[in-house]
Amino acid sequence: MKTTVLNNNPELRVPLAGLLGWLLPGAGHLFIGERTRGIIFMATLAVTFWAGIAIGGVKNTINPQERQLWFLGQICAGSHALGAMLWSRQIDRPADDDPNHTQIIAYGRAEEVSVVYTAICGMLNVLIILDVLVRAERKPATAERGPPNRGRKAST
């Protein structure tokens, strides 16, 4: 019921769709009724972001202290980046002379690929947020129910 009230108010619908789209990529589209698009965005960005994390490891991929500009791109992926950052802080950085150092910290190609994957995910979410803002402004909340049947006689 609350969702319908929010969805019918264009002044709330547009910013809320954008905010939801940032928090969870694809959620803004689900909120305005674009279910298929929302699910496609949600699945694509989640798989790509966490594939990037799997390549480079969570500790070194999301590193706001050492890679501020890359982190600006990554944080646009919303809850994925926030979750990865919180998880990354829970893991202690091993000392440079620790034999397990490379078990946690990626260097070289793996580091580059993982950072690029996650930052591009963030950039793609910016595109998705812009798309959902346009759709939320343009599309009435009831559009997915089909065209209105006013003035038409039921065929017998």
Partner: protein, 78 residues
């Protein structure tokens, strides 16, 4: 049932990549970009798969062509 310990290990430990593996990892990234881009562009949801695949192939060929040209320029200049 998902093994959470195994999942955490996969996400914590980095992998070692060779040059060819790095180049191959361009493919899924380009696929993700083309899927998202075509999902925003296509008016009809049913058109998305074909449009995304065409876009993916175009991006991959374009990227490898640019990479090949830059590699040739690098080798000639050094």
């Amino acid at each position: 049932m998902i093994d959470l310990h195994l999942l955490a290990t996969i996400l914590i430990q980095p992998v070692t990549l060779g040059r060819w593996q790095q180049m191959l990892l361009l493919l899924p990234l380009c696929l993700a970009v083309s899927i998202v881009y075509k999902t925003t562009k296509c008016a009809n949801v049913r058109d998305i798969p074909v449009a995304a695949i065409v876009s993916w192939i175009t991006i991959v060929i374009g990227m490898y062509a640019v990479g090949g040209v830059l590699l040739l320029i690098y080798h000639w200049s050094v």
